[in-house]
Subunit: 337 residues, 2 copies
DNA sequence: CTGAAAGCGCTTACAG
DNA sequence: CTGAAAGCGCTTACAG
């Protein structure tokens, strides 16, 4: 492969001129520029990003940090971010922070970031103080999605309002006995969405004058499988709710499936609502409160790109709250008389 | 942030010695090494990967190339690969080649790879001749998953045997009228799995002396939604199969859902089987032929790592075929009398 | 508008 | 065992 020196030699100019011509800087005569472009093309010249980075101090790479990657929400974000950034000349280096157990994750380290990336997008991972300090020390811009990081821009939905929408939909349908799934049993430092949504559930119930039956607040690891198993224990008793709100569609699907196995008809015997509008929710006819996940990824990318192009520009929004909308399908219906 | 020069100065040695000591090379006295390590630690020194790459010619970064990222299969692979590679000091830069329409994808370019990565893992994307030539020219090792690339190691399942297992399961249950979903209408250059599986379906039917009814071979874009819509048109007629084999679980889920809506009971009125063991398949009780996707990602990573550590070592397998296994759940049953 | 030269922060023969 | 120096391939003031 050819280097900038080859191009300079063949074009009969200095490497400095090649560098300027190729990057579209001014102060290069049109003829020279044309000549350089021709030669570069002909030699299949592509600047070595590693050399460019060393000299310029910029890598044009962004770290995308996720607590899991296999789950739909995160995969959707990563895909959207990668496309948006690549369309603007940046690449994505991926960090899957999932650890062996659900209640902990790997830490972000200097080795992952230092001179390797120009910025960071965190997907729903609340940063520890040490991590924020690290990113500060490295002088990297950071945009958060989902879980806000103090002092940094964040793209998210309003979790409380979203949960309220879900619960109120059930209340509007006449439900009074409402269960919940999505509590996270242990104190997990790396996801805060579960806490927020559960709190919003309690608040909404209270505001409506409805009791929260603690036996109907189910823990789960947020997978459909666990939700099916956990809810089965509740649904097989007579003392059960007429509706369940799940903190995610994947869990809602699990709940509905376990109802089905127990010969409970949805929504006649049990209404189920989730949050997300997961990829399978439409086909499965699940009522949900939809969020546009890909758009959140794109917005976060744009915010980061702006911070990269002009570090001084702090005019952008520091908290971008995206709308969510109730989508009524077949899994919710009037409360039984 | 400190550089190698800082460490050298504080430790009172040359940068060459720091470099050797930190990388664990021999020819450094124990005392000196200890001293250097101490100073490096104390200064929070981490070598600049960009400088290291320029000097050594290695980036310790691997390109992972996928045709889609939002789909479970690919997200699962990426997650497994990222973890395996990172455990061995390598990072993943991600390329989502999805384009606006389903029947084309973005090309792999020199700009994505040159001096940016040490190797490539392709996820079920058949390479064009140009792309293979590019990778050759750049001297990069390549490991393929799913769709083989001529002359390069590949990790995959036996698509034909896997499909045969699915079809024979239905035949064993007494089904004679068997439909198929997962044909890809146009000539899509970037996925070959659909072709292989459809061919295997035809072969298996023929071998069993069963007719392939062309009206029962359905096209689809491999999403659950499209599968639901496409199969609904077939299932609402009287002239319909007693079983449908789907080329993926996601499509099988769509088919089963559309059966449900048409008040066909699964498996009494219609048996449905898929391939994959998708994340929701167990909870939805779907019969399938399981493949271990994450393990394929890990194996591919190991193969690439080996090629990176010793380019001359060609002793490894060039075609690693992973087993698949029939998992019978609730969506298949005896053919109606 | 163009070039010579320093510098980015490492690694790697080459001497000693 | 250790160091001085060249080199990796660019970018960026500084002169002209």
């Amino acid at each position: 492969m050819s280097t900038i020196t080859d191009v300079a030699r063949v074009a009969g100019v200095s490497v400095a001129t090649v560098s300027r011509a190729l990057r579209g800087l001014d102060r290069v005569s049109p003829q020279t520029r044309r000549r350089v472009l021709e030669v570069a093309e002909q030699l299949h010249y592509v600047a070595s990003p590693t050399a460019t980075s060393l000299a310029s101090g910029r890598t044009r790479v962004v770290a995308v940090v996720a607590p899991f990657l296999t789950r739909w929400f995160f995969a959707t974000l990563v895909s959207a971010i990668e496309k948006e950034l690549r369309a603007h000349g940046h690449h994505v280096i991926l960090f899957d922070l999932e650890d062996d157990t659900y209640d902990q994750r790997l830490p972000l380290t200097q080795n992952m970031l230092w001179k390797r990336v120009d910025g960071v997008i965190s997907l729903n991972v609340p940063m520890t103080d040490d991590e924020v300090a690290l990113i500060d020390r490295l002088g990297l811009p950071l945009v958060a999605i989902g879980s806000a990081v103090p002092g940094r821009p964040c793209v998210r939905i309003d979790d409380r309002a979203t949960m309220r929408t879900a619960v109120e939909h059930l209340i509007d349908l006449g439900h009074r006995r409402i269960g919940y799934i999505g509590d996270v049993p242990r104190n997990v430092a790396h996801v805060e969405t579960p806490q927020t949504r559960l709190t919003a559930f309690r608040e909404t119930m209270e505001a409506a004058g409805l009791p929260v039956v603690e036996d109907w607040v189910l823990g789960s690891d947020w997978t459909a499988e666990a939700a099916a198993a956990d809810s089965a224990r509740l649904l097989c008793t007579d003392h059960r709710p007429t509706a369940i709100v799940a903190a995610s569609d994947e869990m809602a699907i699990g709940v509905r499936e376990s109802a089905r196995r127990l010969d409970l008809e949805v929504p006649r015997d049990l209404s189920v609502i989730g949050i997300d509008d997961y990829v399978l929710s439409e086909v499965l006819g699940l009522t949900t409160v939809r969020q546009d996940v890909a758009e959140q990824g794109r917005e976060a990318s744009r915010l980061l790109l702006r911070a990269l192009s002009d570090p001084a520009d702090t005019s952008g929004p520091s908290d971008l709250v995206m709308p969510t909308v109730l989508v009524v399908r077949d899994s919710t219906g009037p409360a039984p008389a």
